[in-house]
Amino acid sequence: MSEANDNMTAVLERDDADVRIEEQLAAERAKDLLRFSTAGSVDDGKSTLIGRLLYDSRNVYDDHVRAVTHNAAIDFAQLTDGLRAEREQGITIDVAYRFFSTPKRKFIIADTPGHEQYTRNMATGASTADVAIVLVDARKGILDQTRRHACIAALLGIPVVIAAVNKMDLVGFSQTVFDDHRRSLLDLARQLEIPELIAVPVSALDGDNVVHRSERMSWYSGPSLMELLETVPLAIERSHAGLRFPVQRVLRPHQDFRGFAGQITAGTVRPGDEIIALPSGFRTRVRSITTWEGDLETARAPQSVVITLEDETDVSRGEMLVSAADSPHRTRHFEATVVWMHTKPLRPGSTYLLKHTSQTVRARVVEIRSRIHVERLEHHPAEQLALNDIGQVVIETSRPLLADLYRDSRATGSLILIDPEDNATAGAGMIRSIADAGDAESEINHATRGVLALGNRAELAAQLERSLLEAGAVVLRTRVPLSPSLIALARMGAFLLVESDDAVPITLTPVHAASTTPHELALDEPDEILNEIQRLGAIPNGEDDNDDGLGI
């Protein structure tokens, strides 16, 4: 190996510097990018482990090492322990991102504090991680915080958890000790439904099995921690969903081009593929995948591209192009695991803005099913979720989400809740189960009845006609003035849009109520009107005793 290197050196030194660096860059380009999270508290060896990982892979600078060397011994923890410094200075403890690389890969570490009061930070770091490193003290085995870290990793859907069984030097490098911990860890992984848990015996202080394989644990034939990090697949490569392409923006530079800009969150796409535009359900084919470099023959998650379609179809931001064979759920009602991040607790009935893919809708938490005790891994009944609590909740949205279960697709199964008063990111949610499409769609569908008088708002009428039809309602646009016969028609199961030449207020007349008093709507946005139709359509007596003004 060293001979090969020497030969290469000779060649390299003869060559022009540009050529040499070109070759090196070609190799650099082959690397992908793995994100991993670490969580830990003071004294559990996390900082020492990261320090060791960086030092043994030669990712720290000499002067930095000198600065933390005392009496010829390097304090590995101090190499990276930004969090400790922050704590001492009383600065907010947060997620710190660190960057390093090895010959095989580039890495981003999301380094988070491990105490319970930092659950939201751990969840943040875990949300984009491909791998979680959970530390286990070989002397102590699984502790509350081990369970907490593993539980958060599992809830946030990290596909691979590496359990670094640390301080093996303090248990005499005992195989029996390691095997016991490994068995308990695998039990824990089964309980938490972690797809893959790998236990590695390490000594962070001495470097055993961190980057280099240990010579003091000959009974262990597995890879070092770094070898694992260098070879596990990225999380996105594990997604099994078909094409998911949430549209971020419609690009119309000129009349002949209409492209949909977005990031592929799952699957692959090729020109000619049959796709469905949701929520309209319109089927068409991909004409081209346009990029700055030219059209592509194929694109895959997580590429950002522009897709053009064979047929003219109206797709806007928040909508989604999906594979015809495998589409996401369309739902207004689902159960999610929520990590609460706001000092103002979450209570049933609270309303929020909910961001899911490129769509923001209004949402109400209708029920808190349970609070999850992340250390005992138990569900408890709960009246509310406070800051850093995690719980199972039922959410209803004003408009349908095009969603997958989080375990099938992270990007289309995740959401954030935004407090409408202070705009804070109040919670993060992972969709666990979705009500049947029948239930979910019951509020606007063929049973939606009513009469909406729109006056001279022809454009609005056209928009509403389309949206209602897409939602499955039987829609009729008419210029005949509102009359008992039209009401009767609506009662038979139609939704009527009544237009005229007059600039009159918009009125909605529900037809399944005992009285058919028109409600005046002081709204002019199609979405708001649809919400109101939904609300009144769903409530037989036309009165909502829990009206929060959000139309849910």
């Binding site: 510097a17 991102y97 700055w292 950002s304 522009v306």
Partner: protein, 329 residues
């Protein structure tokens, strides 16, 4: 040099390694996976599109430097074949290198992007300069104040910046969407958690956000991308003979009348700039790197020499510490 190559360390090691894998194998793998540059590019484009879609009036802060150049190319890609849907804003202190301003005007005109320039004319009229005010006050007036005024005057609610998390420790926890209150202030304690790629862009009246689409890029990634994409850069980054004040280890560019040397200090030196700023306050380094690949080689080598080796000269520890202190004071 031989020592580094025979036992590669750090970046050199990371760069050389690709030769060890079989070419067939790596090619098959490359078709399966996106590399880190493609992953970073996809992430940055996603961020830019979110901002363009969710904000009323975004702007891209354009500093003419290497990071800005990469950010501008990413914006072109994000909205292609449509034009970039926001203007660029250059905060001009009045002391930028002439070559920077020439480059800025030529390149933005060539791309057909809208360029806005904002200067603190009031301070400049009063003769504000770093010699007179000191760098900190000068920067405060001509950079920070000008930036805030410029953003406010135009009513921008989102501003892209080219900062990276790897630049310094304090940036390691910066958000991609960094929230600013109605006074334009950053409160590190009041930043929103950022999960997945779901960015919360909700703001109140007069509030705004700074957006950092290059957060996860490293310096090497930036230069690598400039090289791959053949992105034009200001020639000041490339080594050539330039007129400099040579003072101890420092090379001070001679452009402004108030930058005057002692007799004999002004010399021709082959050098380049590692970062671009105001000419009186940006030192050059001696260098022969006159192409982007050579800059990358120089960067790799410079970082290697700083990188930890297995053997540490502990005797030097004290004296090094002392030198640092002397240098510092």
């Amino acid at each position: 040099m031989t020592a580094i190559a025979s036992e590669p360390t750090g970046l050199a090691q990371e760069l050389n390694s690709g030769h060890s894998g079989g070419p067939g194998q790596s090619r098959a793998a490359a078709e399966q996976r996106l590399n880190h540059i493609q992953l970073l590019e996809a992430e940055s484009i996603h961020i830019m599109r979110e901002v363009a879609a969710e904000f009323q009036k975004p702007v891209m802060l354009y500093s003419i430097g290497k990071d800005s150049s990469v950010m501008l190319r990413l914006a072109q890609k994000a909205f292609h074949p449509a034009p970039i849907p926001f203007p660029l804003l250059h905060v001009d202190t009045g002391y930028k290198f002439r070559e920077m301003i020439e480059f800025r005007d030529r390149y933005t005109a060539e791309l057909g992007v809208k360029l806005l320039v904002w200067r603190n004319e009031e301070a400049l009229a009063q003769g504000a300069n770093p010699v007179q005010l000191g760098t900190q006050r000068c920067c405060g007036l001509l950079k920070t104040q000008a930036l805030l005024d410029g953003l406010r005057a135009h009513g921008f609610d989102a501003a892209f910046g080219g900062a990276r998390r790897d630049e310094e420790k304090s940036r390691a926890k910066e958000r991609i969407f960094s929230f600013r209150d109605s006074a334009g202030q950053w409160d590190p304690k009041n930043q929103r958690p950022e999960l997945w790629n779901l960015f919360n862009g909700r703001i109140g009246p007069r509030e705004s956000i700074r957006v950092f689409p290059l957060s996860n890029w490293t310096e090497l990634d930036i230069w690598h991308y400039i090289h791959l994409e053949k992105i034009p850069i200001v020639p000041l980054y490339l080594a050539k003979e330039r007129r400099m004040l040579v003072r101890a280890d420092s090379l001070i560019p001679v452009e402004q009348p108030f930058v005057k040397g002692l007799p004999g200090e002004e010399q021709w030196v082959k050098c380049r700039l590692r970062s671009l700023g105001c000419s009186p306050c940006t030192g050059a380094i001696r260098s022969d790197a006159d192409t982007v690949p050579k800059i990358i080689a120089e960067l790799v080598q410079m970082r290697n020499s700083e990188r930890a080796n297995r053997i540490i000269d502990h005797d030097q520890d004290g004296s090094m510490e002392l030198k640092k202190r002397e240098g510092y004071f």
